[in-house]
Every structure is written in C-alpha cells, then in structure tokens.
C-alpha cells in the first residue's frame, strides 16, 4: 500500500496510458482514435518527466546563484522533441482522415469496411 502512495505519479501515468489505449482500441471514429493516440503520447511524456524530477522541483538552469539538486535535463530535452513530433504526427493523421472522408464519405471504421 505504501508503494502505491509513493509511486502515485507513475501509476497515474499508467492509468492515463491505459485509458488512451482503450480509446484507441474500442472507439470506431478515426478522429477519436487519434485523440487516444495523443493521450497515450502525453502519458508517456508525463512518465519520462516524472522520472527525471527532484523533490523540490528545481529546473536545470545553471545561473550564478542556482543551487541543486537540479532536475535531470535529458528527459526534458527528449520530451521537448517528442511533443513537436507528436503535433506533426497528429497533423498528418488528420490530413489523412480528411482525405478518407472526402474519398469514402465516412470516418467510422465499421462503416468503412462496407465501402467497396
């Protein structure tokens, strides 16, 4: 029980990830699936940033009067590039969905099975 309390940040990230996976698997609307994918991505980012934090939350800025312990800068840099790539992926997926709607007239996966 104690370990659940100390690791509540990680467990919340896992819970958000699983809800995102549920949306991705169960919902038939393609745009809803992309929302689920985005939720999974942000859950992973939250997990990575949480792994690199320190208790007092000092950002990794080495000013003249900065005192540690600093949060680890490597997860921040990875997540930063990840966020920008995620928005590019979202835009590409949305463009494809709009194209699917234009070509087939629907964005529901169970209706798309009947097209041709």
């Amino acid at each position: 029980m104690n370990v659940l309390l100390t690791h509540v940040d990680y467990i919340a990230a896992v819970a958000i990830f699983l809800v995102g996976l549920y949306i991705l698997l169960v919902k038939q609307n393609l745009l809803k699936k992309i929302l689920g994918l985005n939720i999974m991505e942000t859950a992973v980012f939250a997990f990575i940033v949480t792994a690199g934090m320190t208790d007092n939350g000092v950002p990794p800025l080495l000013g003249p009067d900065a005192v540690g312990p600093f949060a680890s800068p490597l997860p921040h840099a990875l997540v930063l590039t990840g966020i920008v790539v995620a928005v590019s992926i979202t835009a590409l997926a949305l463009a494809l969905i709009v194209r699917v709607k234009r070509e087939c007239g629907s964005v529901e996966l169970n209706e798309l099975g009947k097209v041709e």
Binding site: P60, G63, T81, V84, A95
Partner: protein, 240 residues
C-alpha cells in the same frame, strides 16, 4: 465482443505495467540512476562543454545535436506528407459522396476579436523572439519560441485571413519554401561549419562569443523554421 477483448488486453497490460512501475526507484529521489548516470555529467560539465546555462538547450544543441537534427527533418517531412495528402488529386473523385451536410455557413469574423488579435500579435511575436534569443540562459529555446510563434501565426490566419479566398499566403512561394526548410538547412549548415573548424560534426566553436552566436543562429533557425512548418500544416489541413 471486441470491447471485451480490448478490456482483457488492457487489464493484462495494466497489471504488467504497474508491476514494473512499482519496482522503479521512488520519483524525486536524487540517487536514482536517472540522476546519477548521464545527467550528473551534463549538470557538472554542462556550462563549459554545453556552452549554455539552460541545460535543456545545451542537451538539445550540443550533446544530442544529431537527435535534434533528425527531429527538425522529421517535422519538415511531415509537412511535405501533409501537403501531398491534401493537395494531390485523388485517383477518382467519387460522385455522390460529397458531404453536403457539412457545408456550414461561414461566420464573419467579429471586429472585436479581430482587433484584439491584431493588437496582441506583436507582443506575442516579441515574446517568442525573446524566448528564442535568450534560450541559452533562461527557460526557452528554439522549439519553445517556435511553437509560440507558430501559435501566434495560426491565430492571425484564423482571425484576419481573407476567408473568401483559399490562398492567403503573405510571402511569395519561393521564399516561403526556404523558410519552411529553415530548420534542417540552418542546422545542417552550422553543423558542417563545426566539421570544418573543429573536426567534429555539430560541434560548437571554442571561443565564447562565436559559440553564443552559433547557438543563437541554431535557435533562430529551429524556431522560425518550426513556426513556418506549423503554420504550413494548419493551412494545408484547412484548405485540403
């Protein structure tokens, strides 16, 4: 049935993930591997070797420069893919599937909103430039300033673009394409400069002044190129 299978899969995956997660070191403790392994070296030597007070910028532009180069290439490639997906003509334009119910009447832009957006846009642009230029000392950098600038340009395109015409670009197409490719181009050019002067690809010069200039150039390239890519994504999606 499909829902049941999905729930079983998610329950199994959740059990595995939680079992894995509770065995990790407690978040926030400073003696866990994430703090002692690589990051300790970055924090100790970051100012001298990385050349920036903001260690995130140092990691992005110096320690992990090849990652960042790949990343600006990825977003540029995504823009090309979106342009291809939206603007290339399809094999056959199906008749009868055109969505008539989606022809919404276009609401004219409120003059109040338009005025406030135009009033605030220069301030947002100034903030974005500040974030880019001071990214090696304060929180900020190329990507951060780039997304702020991109959000501002999308706001302008939403509220003050000519809504009756589809092509409302401000810049001539030739210049626009060069600016959209600014991230990979500037990064590649400055990386090659590092190869010429110090023998290492993507290395920064040793002289503090030139090092700062190169970092500012990289951040401006990433930021302005990223903003142009984001606006391009939005425009392609809106017109496609």
């Amino acid at each position: 049935m499909r829902k049941f299978l999905a729930l079983v899969l998610i329950a199994a995956l959740g059990a595995v993930l939680i079992a894995a997660v509770v065995n990790l070191p407690e978040p926030g403790t400073t003696d866990s591997p994430v703090h002692t392994h690589v990051s300790a070296g970055y924090i100790k030597g970051g100012h001298e070797a990385g050349g920036a007070d903001n260690l995130v910028t140092a990691v992005l532009l110096n320690y992990r420069a090849i990652d960042t180069f790949g990343e600006v290439t990825v977003i540029f490639t995504a823009l090309i893919a979106v342009l291809a997906a939206t603007s290339l003509a399809g094999p056959t334009e199906r008749s009868g599937t055109q969505n008539i119910d989606l022809k919404t009447t276009r609401v004219p832009v409120s003059p109040v909103v338009s005025f406030v957006v135009r009033l605030m846009a220069p301030f947002i642009a100034t903030f974005a430039l500040f974030v880019m230029l001071k990214g090696h000392e304060l929180p900020g950098g190329g990507f951060q300033g780039g997304v702020v600038l991109g959000a501002m340009l999308i706001l302008l395109a939403l509220f003050s673009g000519r809504t009756d015409k589809t092509d409302d670009e401000e810049l001539p197409p030739g210049l626009r394409n060069w600016i959209r490719a600014a991230g990979p181009l500037v990064f590649g050019a400055l990386g090659l400069t590092g190869l010429v002067f110090s023998g290492w690809l993507f290395s920064l010069p040793d002289h503090p002044f030139w090092r700062e200039m190169v970092m500012i150039g990289l951040e401006l390239g990433i930021g302005i190129g990223g903003a142009a890519v984001l606006v391009g994504l939005f425009r392609a999606l809106r017109e496609g």
